[in-house]
């Protein structure tokens, strides 16, 4: 799920960035520091969309660095247990398949793939129904349900399942 929220961060800035472009420097450093990172609490920061306010700077003794409290708006992404997600398959093997939805790494174990889909090895490993009508392989797009999530500093891990109604392949690259 995506959220648009306001977060706060203390930004340390080197004195060389002071002057007319202070605000721009602050914003670009913020974007560099924050976009693409994860926090256990908020999930993955997709993009900063605006600056709410920049607080008073505090000069650090000895170094000349200044710390600014910055409030910013951003779009974050975090998956939830029970959420339905669309993802792209990155790897298929005998254990199941891995898929990605942006920064989220999802594993769907073969226990949670419908029983009528069987693993086929080869240079393009896949799970296929016995009649061959549905096939999951690398680059397939799948709709899955999240049954577990864990967010750490840089990555979000999820356990997914496609063993339920309306889940599974939504586009087949081989058929395209």
């Amino acid at each position: 799920m995506f959220f648009h929220i306001v977060l706060e961060r203390n930004m340390q800035l080197h004195p060389r960035h002071f002057g007319r472009n202070l605000r721009e420097n602050l914003v670009s450093k913020l974007m560099k520091d924050v976009e693409g990172t994860c926090s256990g609490r908020h999930g993955f920061v997709v993009a900063i969309t605006g600056i709410e306010n920049v607080g008073k700077g505090l000069i650090r003794d000895g170094t000349g660095f200044v710390t600014f409290p910055v409030k910013y708006q951003c779009v974050v992404f975090r998956p939830f247990k029970g959420e339905i997600l669309e993802a792209v398959v990155t790897m298929v093997n005998k254990m199941g398949f891995f898929a990605e939805a942006g920064p989220v790494q999802i594993f769907v174990s073969n226990h949670l793939i419908p029983d009528d889909m069987e693993f086929q090895s080869g240079d393009m490993p896949n799970y296929t129904t016995s009649d061959g009508s549905v096939k999951i392989q690398k680059d397939s797009e799948v709709r899955l349900k999240i049954i577990g999530t864990r967010v750490d500093a840089t990555e979000i891990f999820c356990i997914g399942t496609i063993k339920d109604d309306f889940l599974g392949v939504i586009n087949d690259p081989a058929a395209a």
């Binding site: 306001v6 926090s39 609490r41 605006g50 939830f80 247990k81 005998k94 790494q105 356990i159």
Partner: protein, 448 residues
């Protein structure tokens, strides 16, 4: 990342505190690593309790509202209760999603970061995979890299006579045709063993192949790129020392194949102490000077001699024939159920044909006082099907010695028996074929 600053948000907007509280409440406990003040914690606890309550209600309602025909759902929830947690991904159970201990089970990082499997699950996967594989008439093949499929050297260890190689390296753009590569970013040069490309292509028809190296992960992946640029042979089956479960040892525990169906090619026997019966020992490929020195050879290297192993008659050609023979015997000659067949037995049988009918006596090959039948050469010869005797008798066919002047050596000459150097046995062991005795004649030692 490109983006524009917008002040007005089209999406749902809320203050971050509310959001965090909402998130925490909807998450399982223990997922928040940040410290909060007690006030905030209290509100969260309340919210969490509320959520718990709601879930409880749902669960309570479940059995009553559930029509008996909806067995699937009941089964699913039952499964949830008794989940055996067969493995984990990102420290969550791959079956029920519950958070698990970080260090339970065997790690399969080479397949995907964060993946671990419990023993029962490994056994289950091996069983189902084995059936699948046998149906395709394939076995497993685990391949070592260094000295088996290729030879690498650090650039700083290259000798002056090897300098010429630096102008002969092949392009990294299309590695599929080259065999000598400069990997400057790793400060290394790598030479692929002659015939390796044809070897992999043919072997891939008969085996599901793994790379298993004592090198680190970065090196293993780089070598896999050179050997398999199209990723048609190994997929993610590249195991490095970072992925093993024991230091300085290679083990089949991280290989998802039944041990009775795995063959291993490696030049280092000691790496596989637990799986010697699966091992086909490779003659070491030393191309670079540093590699020769590392193993104590003071001769010129192939590179310094501007020479190489034969493309048509080298070690990989020989071993491919052996692999085909093992594969053929496993599927076509053995009787009984496929799943009950054992590739280790097949390997043993084929090995025993090599020196079948030879009766050997050793002369001054073993140190005095050494228990002869414990010696590596004795065991090797027996493994190759020869009979080893301690004393001479008329049935003896070969005397093995490094010295033509010993009593037994002279007996051999006198009775027109073969007198061969111990290397005759080693050569047969590497080549899987009895070698012409005249290539292993024994010289008279000058100082007896």
């Amino acid at each position: 990342m490109q983006m524009s600053l917008v002040t007005d948000s089209p999406v749902h907007s809320s203050s971050s505190d509310d959001f965090a509280a909402f998130l925490d409440a909807s998450l399982d406990s223990g997922s928040s690593e940040e410290t909060e003040d007690s006030d905030q914690l209290e509100t969260q606890r309340v919210k969490r309790r509320k959520v718990d309550k709601m879930e409880n209600i749902e669960e309570l309602q479940d059995p009553t509202s559930l029509p008996p025909s909806l067995e699937q759902t009941a089964e699913a929830s039952m499964k949830k209760d008794v989940c055996t947690h067969p493995g984990s991904f990102g420290e969550m159970c791959i079956l029920c999603g519950q958070r698990l201990d970080a260090d339970s089970g065997v790690t399969f990082g080479y397949i995907h970061k964060g993946l671990r499997l419990e023993n029962d699950e490994i056994v289950r996967l091996r069983n189902t995979d084995m059936k699948n594989l046998l149906r395709h008439k394939k076995l497993y093949l685990v391949l070592d890299l260094d000295h088996t499929l290729l030879n690498s050297t650090q650039l700083i260890h290259m000798s002056p006579q090897e300098e010429y190689l630096k102008s002969q390296t092949d392009s990294l753009q299309d590695v599929s045709k080259g065999s000598l590569f400069m990997l400057s970013f790793m400060h290394m040069m790598t030479k692929l063993r002659p015939f390796v490309r044809a070897f992999l292509k043919e072997a891939s028809e008969l085996f599901e192949m793994y790379i298993y190296t004592m090198g680190d992960r970065a090196y293993a992946l780089e070598m896999a790129k050179l050997l398999d640029p199209q990723r048609e042979y190994f997929s993610s089956r590249v195991i490095s020392r970072d992925d093993g479960t024991h230091r300085h040892q290679k083990g089949l525990d991280v290989v998802l194949g039944q041990e009775s169906a795995v063959l291993i090619l490696d030049d280092t026997e000691n790496a596989w102490t637990k799986h010697k019966d699966n091992l086909i020992l490779m003659e070491r490929y030393h191309f670079f000077a540093s590699s020769c020195h590392q193993f104590g050879f003071n001769c010129k290297s192939l590179s310094e001699l501007k020479n190489d192993e034969s493309e048509t008659d080298g070690a990989l050609v020989t071993i491919l024939k052996v692999l085909k023979r093992v594969h053929g015997m496993f599927f076509d000659e053995l009787e009984g159920n496929l799943v009950d067949r054992d590739v280790r037995q097949v390997l043993k049988t084929i090995r025993k044909e090599v020196l079948k009918g030879c009766k050997l006596v050793f002369s001054r090959v073993f140190p005095t006082g050494f228990q002869a039948d414990n010696h590596l050469l004795w065991k090797m010869a027996e493994g190759l099907g020869a009979t080893c005797l301690k004393e001479l008798d008329p049935s003896v066919t070969h005397v093995v010695s490094t010295d033509a002047g010993t009593e037994k050596s002279r007996w051999a000459v006198k009775h027109k028996k073969f007198l061969v150097h111990p290397q005759w046995i080693e050569a047969a062991n590497y080549l899987w074929q009895k070698q012409p005795e005249e290539n292993f004649i024994v010289n008279q030692t000058k100082n007896p």
